[in-house]
Symmetry: D2
Subunit: 338 residues, 4 copies
């Protein structure tokens, strides 16, 4: 941590800073420039100390973190890539894993039909929401337990493992009985009660990026899961909120390269929620594979026009099949396969 | 809802849109311009229908909402201002209500000392967090139940009602036994499981704005609370995430005027979380009162240098007292008092 | 244009809106819903009328544009793709055009060396800045006229056409004498004096997206160039400003699909300015090609460590050559070539 | 400047960084922590060196500026407040200066009428645009020279000095002949050709904040003006671009406190462009005065319904007069007057 004193800070003010750092067990090095005094606070866990501890002291101009606040998700802690295994499928390995299915579980027919279709197109995991976090209380809220049951049936019929979202800390155990993979939604990325609960589960967890959270905050949220002992964390980029209004969210394509550099966790991309409209999904999906993503999470609905949730961003099974065929040569050109 | 067809949309495509709208019970009016056909969907509850229902249809260029998606929080539904009463204190009335106290409950001495100090300076409600949503799992997580107990004691000693945050849906009942006001934090504004649970409580609720949520989304979240029957909702603006990095969050000062226009709910302002540094708190607090806010939520700590959480943005009791004295003439100049 | 009246708007207020629209030559259609009156303003050029004309009238709640404010850049005006030709090179055709070179022109040796290197790796156009828009007046400002001269020499030696930035309206003629392609930088996208001047030139123009401008504003800026008679406009996405701080700008990968849908102009991508660090450039460049971009603008410097400007985001010639080899199979997998 | 090396950086890599710093004339201090080596670069003008110089070196993880990149605008360079004088009016002194008038100069009658009205309400400077930077080439572009002439007449009739925008570097001399104050618009804040030209003028300059520029970038742009010898710079906050869509721009109220802390330049606030709608202007204007702004820039039009530009955000003379009366007690309550 680097502490910049104001121009003209007194020796007494500098001493208070130094003493505070030493009282926390840190080593201190003073840098007295011509205009400014800069205090470097050194030690292995300065990333876990609030900058506020120093910002509040008199004579301090600014405090800058050098160590990142996340720890367990950092590549420095684990240099080799994490590969998450789920029913024989590896996420973070050479194969690009495609998770597909409708936003919301609606009926038995819908789920079984779509499961078979996405499987035949090459998807390896089925998605579908039973508990839906909806912006308005007057929107369809999901089938809840009945939805979990339909997911079970679709898994049995198709042989595909299923991924589904959990929204309440007290539902984690129940959902984990059905789901092969738990999903934490974007709006819950900083719901620490939910993270703590989900981290106690043994199921792999897809942690969607909060739509207004930095990569650093995202990895710090992953630390909650990892700290509870669950090592099977899959990051999912799904677009961030910006001023641009032609899409619902702006997919942060650079996050793939950044995550690969600073973290050992696998990263998948959800082009559907970012795009908000099916016509933009293929272009973004192709970009994600070329950029190095480990997988895709794509909304597919047998009949988007009748979908209860997010129809506009869902691909039809035919469009999904076409996209999968377009993705294969791109995957190959970056040394992977689908 | 207004549906713009693409240039050259076929009559068949237009018919499909019209039929879909009618099947949902809406009245339809066609506007055939020289270049474009525009379909207006009319009816009282179009705000509760997803735009996706139409966006997904062939030949549709764009779908624009006219009716807002929130309903119960709208001034159109209730023209007169909501005044929330709490132990004889009215929020949303002529008096500007100041809620003050430390970010986190730490010790008995801290809470009782600060309670007496802020009361003597003119605060009417005490704040303090027992359950803390922290970005990192390695940060201080709050005293939990022991913290609730200390809040109880501080209330008894000072006579001030207390406001505290709830973070887990299953804690609502417990926290509501101690707290006079529940607080939903910014990171939980779209935690619908928590909103639904808190809405069932009879306690007034401070609903902090999600730091990357629009005013429309904020009022739609308020609808969750109102829809459960809890009418005592207090909105709290606390800054939004922008590119500016000299403060933690950019306080959206215009939100006060916007909320007063479109909603009947009272709005208070938290300058401390927006500023991130105590030196900016007074300027923002004064602006909020002049702009028409119904109250302030201010962090005050007896010894910010030793605070376990958010010390940098906390005022000392002396600085808080000075600020209160500066706020009084401003309140008076906008026809109110503190 | 769609005008929503407030609930309870009087007939007189509605009449004023209708009269105003008719006085501007528009057709009007009234939609009287159960709660709201909505007035649709119809006509071919409503996109060119300010919404303010109606927003200001009493009883008006909101005004929503249906027609986009840009016109000449719209695909509706020209359904077929624009292909910009420059010295026999086509931008917007099957070949993905790579424009490469240093941020700033520094020396004769630098320019000639880099020109030959990028050419041998497959770049078709050389870039280099003679006039540099720098954030601080104390930074290197470019070689100006001497830089133009060095560009000329590099073109002669390498046979590559050159692209360079123009920053002052009065320099357009001079720069166009040397440059084969003019570039308008991100900070000047809404510098209308410069757009008007550049639009009068016959040279193709790369119009970089303003880092905080919407796609709609970008295309409206393109209209300035097109309206002056210059049809050779090449759009360049170079990242937008967001809250994410691990890169300099967040590349808006979805802009490629959006532009291809709404405009006929070719779009290239500058991964260097978005990334801000050379290590992220290849991943973003590959994503852009897979997403459908018509070209790339990449910073290459023979010795990034000694670069006067933007060294951190420049590739070495060796790294650039490797990237070009990685891009070729991706281009092929989307039906194109480099 | 603080350079963090990657974990495991070699001694050779560290040496290269140290040598580079020394070659630039800086003092260097090494901080070798348990996990990381951190290199502090010390010296009076590190703010004027690009971080790229070090970012590009092998083994470097991150480079953090301690010294700000702006210099002449910094309070550290000039501790006492700048007071800009214009025809006997002081900006940055105890009086809050109100600059009012229409967005665009339209007719002689309009300008003279509005000049007299705003003067009688207490405004001290008249504003009006002759050269208008418009988003679309199909919008009204201003009266240009004829507009300057009307401004002259309005000044003569009313006795108010006039402020007007300049958009082209080659117009500065001409505009400065008529205008008492030059204005650089938000879209031109980083138009360095214009800044350099305007800085050579002797007229006071209102430098509007770029709508997506940080405070640091704003002050660095001010350095361009100051560096040319023009010390009469007035900063103007006018709202920044965020995701919130209920207003045109989100006024950054905290910028007032931040500027007062880090710079000696006066700051005024334009509530009209931020609000985008007249109904939100008074609340924001009051907030600005309470927060400590040195002045206001307010759009007033004798007949907003007929305004050629920005009618929706203009106050009528009656509404302006009412606002001025509401502002006076607020100004008094913060120790100032209007």
């Amino acid at each position: 941590m680097i502490i910049e004193m104001v121009t003209g800070a007194s020796q007494g003010e500098i001493d208070v800073v130094v003493d505070r750092a030493k009282s926390l067990g840190f080593k201190v090095q003073l840098n007295q420039g011509t205009d400014k005094t800069v205090v470097a606070i050194l030690g292995g866990n300065t990333g876990q100390v609030q900058t506020d501890v120093f910002t509040v002291l008199p004579g301090v101009e600014s405090v800058t973190r050098i160590m990142k606040p996340y720890k367990l998700a950092a590549r420095e802690v684990q240099p080799i890539d994490t590969v998450v295994a789920c029913n024989g499928i590896e996420i973070g390995s050479k194969r690009i894993v495609v998770i597909a299915g409708p936003c919301a579980v609606e009926t038995r027919e819908q789920m079984i039909e779509v499961a078979k279709q996405v499987k035949s197109s090459g998807a390896s995991i089925l998605r579908g929401g039973a508990f839906k976090p909806r912006t308005s209380p007057f929107s369809f809220q999901g089938l809840a337990n009945a939805g979990l049951d339909l997911l079970s049936q679709a898994r049995k019929e198709s042989g595909l493992p299923v991924a589904t979202e959990v929204v309440d800390p007290s539902d984690v155990t129940l959902v984990a009985e059905t789901a092969d993979i738990l999903q934490i939604g974007s709006r819950n990325m900083q719901n620490y009660a939910l993270l703590t609960s989900a981290g106690k589960s043994k199921r792999p967890i897809i942690l969607k990026r909060g739509f207004a959270c930095t990569i650093t905050e995202w990895l710090t949220a992953a630390d909650y899961l990892l700290d509870e002992g669950n090592k099977n964390v899959i990051l999912c980029e799904r677009g961030i909120r910006t001023f641009e209004d032609s899409v619902r969210f702006s997919l942060d394509i650079a996050s793939i390269a950044v995550i690969k550099k600073v973290s050992h966790l696998p990263i998948i991309v959800d082009p559907s929620h970012a795009a908000g409209h099916y016509s933009f999904v293929p272009s973004i999906a192709k970009a994600a594979v070329a950029a190095g993503a480990d997988g895709l999470l794509i909304e597919v609905h047998p009949n988007p026009k009748e979908a209860l949730v997010d129809g506009a961003q869902s691909l039809t099974p035919v469009a999904f099949d076409r996209l999968m065929n377009e993705l294969r040569p791109i995957a190959k050109s970056v040394g992977r396969y689908i």
